[in-house]
Symmetry: D2
Subunit: 381 residues, 4 copies
């Protein structure tokens, strides 16, 4: 893993220098009928370096996209059963489906950016454990890059030179949680963690379910995924890797310091709240060694100072501050009364938590400015 | 403190037997212009044993209540600057204001049911610490009863025989949190606690504030009160008392096992979510000694089996399940992976978290069936 | 049709005098799994004169009601495939289903209170036209009473003496619209009408539909039912009858003055707005002859002065003012600039627009105080 | 008035040809602390041809914009008491304030784009009548162009050659209403009009008011502005002009056919619904002469076929279909039963209803492609 902190400026400058490329990158989206797929179209249809050459959707052929997503009428796209030839293919599919499609796409030489979990976990044994299926291509897991640019920028850039290019775009909860914890993991500060997260309903996808009807969701909040939401797997993996990297850098003993025992496992609890977009993750951390507000401020400022999409904020952020944008905002505080660290991270679950982040990684892999197509300011109020 | 577990049946039966009393109890509400005050009127105006003899509100005289609360027009009440003579006076006032008014009310022989914090904390030093004011009448704190019937039923009933009767009705977050933790405290199971709570905006009261405008709250979630929401004080007090009671009962050493050190202080984080009513508190507990789902089920079932307003539910509850009612629903689970206990409690913040609970305590003090006036089923969807 | 304006006091007094009856009326609800059915249980389970003897629901047997409606756990009801013997049976069924069930229920001597449309329309030809089915028992239509007590109180009371008792409880939009227009119809003031109505989503029922998912409804408004929502049929029928009654009373020519031509047909447009409960109907009326604010005030005050559930309000009402209650609030204004009358009516679509109104009619038919079981104040905020 | 139907292609092509201009147009926003001001910054900060040179706000100096609008942090703007020198100044000010500021701005040679009503009405007498103030500069009203490009494109383009350039950007309700009615007005089809409109709360601005608190707005709908919302003035003016233009074109008699009498005055009723963004206007029109669905389809298709931001849709549109974009969607239907025309128009009140439309007009006046800076697709869900 890269230190995750190398400067993004180089890639941004590179992209900006070249302006809109003479030849656009041909891009396809498979799984365009869901919310994440729609968000990919919203962003990619206005991406200056991209030509959107095709959309794939379940059992539809030559259907205008607007019949499924009326708000995207002005994109003038149609959905097809076929996957068109493209330089990069974004997949927004249920877990277990992408892994079946990927080999054929790789064979065309295209980059795969998978928004599902099929390539996020390094250990094949995690798939039966967390997702209930045996991974058909464990050989591909090692080469896939976890597409969180703030932690894996160098690897994403390096992927450009690889014949097989798979970006495993992070889960929405995982994005908020890992960004919140990574600076602490690197400083070996994580002693015990509770992550209590709140999400808008779009995170549950677009399938029609009784518990997602307006009458059930409005004016209500509930927890779900008790005893182990699937995103725990990637959170523990990435936070563990960040801690290990720091450990090996400092010469201390190896071994995944997170999740190595029940005492270190991450307690993650998601809630569904009555809103459409947005995730707020609150990480309550018992520090492994004494710390202070000053140390935390320095750690987080250092970790994200040069990141184009992450900012450290002095006041507790609202999810509304980032709606429709690729921004993440993080607030860190130390409470001397309880001797605990609190880190709060907010993102738009469909942008930085899904489609926006996928485009950010795509930009890196395809040599574009990292922020290209993602400069929209948040939509408020 | 009472064991908190004596049977409510006696009081319920007593009240039911007598039916609607020949002579109604004269009741006044001071602070009727806020949300908690309105909720008191909603309940008390339909309480079979109560005659609502007067409402007090800031700088208003003989104003129909419906000009302030249009939904209460059918209560045919008016607000006055004067506090009428009454057998019981409910106070819904800002902190620090009730303590100034209470002595005069006590002098009339009336019961005081204070929905604010002025009489909740036993230690006078907690007032400057948590609320920023010196308590003018620390002598009254010892006699006031913390009005959570599930923990202090016997004391509330006993209050009927006292010349000075002050019920300190619990805070909304505190109600959900204490109900969630008390069974664990009594079993000395609380090793380390994070309470992550979510509230509708009515909990913030009815004062006009920019951050409570619809445009700011809707489609957003944010944490607040970071570093110490005031309800922590009463949560730590009551959970500590429950633990102590159990400790002394079992002959073990005394001392408040909660909050005696930073390591034991409760980490409480509230969030504002885009809904009007409801609180969900999720208590993440690291047990002080090994436990199991079976033990937890037995503990919680035992603690609340005979409670008229508390039920233990097998599925994670939604706040919508209790809207408009005095119910609390609690879900407890043990996660072997993380070796943590999770307790989720939901209430309507304005009913069980404020006005309903105050009426429940009033019923006990005034010899009525505990559930009288509170039988409404929740309003769903 | 009765003048619709006879005093409700007699019936209210009668009921109050007798208190809770020694023997409770046995009541069953068929169709308890939907929203209207749940609301019936919420009200009837707390009705002092009622014993809820059974609930019927599609394909369920001995299932606790709380598995379908968790908020109703405290009602301790179970759903059954059988319809139990009862003195009165409430039906909350899809259109066309009730008419098949009613004959068997009538044969037991029970009162039928149908919350669906199967007995609302007097003209059998209206069923194929508006609902797409031939009515199997047109012979029963004449004897059924349209259960809007404000217009048909005498008929509902008279129904008690009838061997066959069918109450056709009005639709939610129809209730708000007819209450808004009846005083104008009786005064022959209706020249041309546009009703523009807004409803919360609970009016669409509890069936799972993509367009009712939270993600689609929230932060959005749309019109539907363009070119003829089914409630138009009963609105035109009842407004026409009110106009006729007035016409015949004043000796003028008969004939339904409403809907007799395209020029007189009611233009009704419903909208779905992002809330759960509540209907607001705005009736824009071109008066048939000159009028004034003073005349309108007198008309509406006179029409509803003694109604227990209808009030005329000086300020435009919010649906929130009546949430959870059986109240209707009406605002009438005359605009000299446009020479138009505007009438705004708000109700809770599930209470006065469904279950509450059905119970109000039931009370009249079964000799109870009209308001019994319906005294709850609205839930605000 | 222009025919309003000349081709936008020329201007779009012109703008596209030149790409991002070598020298950016210097733009200032006065009134940046409100919602419309924020939306202007959101759009202008990403406009390829614009340099945002300054923001003005009440009583603030050198304050970062993000303290007022946290979501705009990435715009890196500060608010100042001074109005900087600029080529174009957007004003988002309360009515009556802009007229005082405009002369000084005009003196610098800058274009004024006023988002308030101070220059929308041609008849000075309308200001005391509708807005309660005497207009200080009636001499400027004639030259100001009502900034609805779909009706006044030629005038906006021509304004570029004028020494004094004032664009009076339309009101939000007016935009939706005029777009809905203009094709009918031109065809002399408007016999009688009821416009029933529904708006999210952001239309009420950002000032803190009790009735706009979340607890009051959520789960509720209410009408307001009864007896004459101010936007009626501009709706009647523009619809009247459209009718007149058509009348004079066809040689028929002149005179404002709208609002010339009570019988022709527009009955406009706005509602506040529980959402943040979006307006839906439903225009119920009694046609002045017989018409048909086919004629209406042709009229509307013809009127807007070449408009970049207006589309005619076959299904009733939701406001969510246009959230965050400059789009307007219109649905027209003829109901033979009532012999009425229904036109439904939806816009985002802050974009096409305010800031977006202002930028669209600015583009035309300053020789840019009409769509520049406004290409964002709507944000859904």
């Amino acid at each position: 893993m890269s230190a995750g902190l190398e400067a993004p400026e180089a890639s941004i400058r590179a992209g900006r220098r070249q302006g809109a490329p003479a030849e656009r990158i041909r891009v396809a989206v498979v799984g365009a009928t869901g919310y994440a797929g729609a968000e990919l179209v919203r962003i990619l249809a206005r991406h200056p370096a991209v030509e959107l050459v095709g959309l794939g959707g379940r059992g539809r052929n030559a259907e205008p996209l607007e019949t499924v997503h009326p708000h995207l009428a002005a994109s003038h796209q149609t959905i097809s059963d076929l996957t068109p030839e493209a330089d990069a293919v974004f997949l927004a599919l249920p877990h277990g489906v992408a892994v079946e499609r990927v080999p054929a796409i790789l064979a065309t030489g295209a980059t795969v950016i998978d928004l599902g979990p099929d390539f996020r976990l390094k250990d094949p044994a995690d798939y039966p454990r967390w997702y209930g299926f045996e991974h058909a291509r464990p050989d591909l897991l090692g080469g896939a890059v976890y597409g969180l640019p703030e932690l894996h920028r160098a690897e994403l850039i390096a992927l450009a030179r690889s014949a097989i290019r798979i970006v495993a775009s992070p889960g929405c909860y995982a994005t908020a949680s890992i960004l919140a914890l990574a600076p602490l993991a690197r400083a070996a500060l994580i002693g015990d963690v509770v992550i209590d997260a709140k999400s808008g309903v779009s995170g549950a996808g677009r399938d029609t379910k009784p518990e997602l009807m307006f009458g059930e969701v409005n004016e209500s909040v509930r927890a779900y995924g008790i005893g182990g939401h699937r995103h725990v797997a990637e959170i523990e993996q990435e936070v563990g890797l960040a801690a290990q990297a720091a450990g090996s850098a400092s010469g201390t003993a190896a071994g995944n310091p997170v999740a190595s025992s029940a005492a270190r496992a991450i307690d993650f609890l998601p809630h569904l709240i009555p809103m459409t977009r947005g995730i707020l993750a609150a990480a309550h951390v018992r520090p492994a060694h004494p710390t202070s507000q000053a140390e935390l401020d320095e750690l987080f400022a250092g970790a994200y100072a040069r990141e184009p999409f992450v900012s450290i904020v002095a006041n507790p952020p609202s999810t509304k501050h980032v709606t429709g944008s690729n921004e993440a905002r993080i607030h860190v505080s130390y409470d001397p009364r309880t001797a605990r660290i609190l880190v709060i991270a907010v993102i738009d679950n469909l942008v930085k938590g899904a489609a926006g982040q996928a485009v950010q990684a795509f930009n890196l892999v395809h040599g574009q400015a990292e922020t290209m197509g993602l400069e929209q300011l948040p939509l408020g109020p």
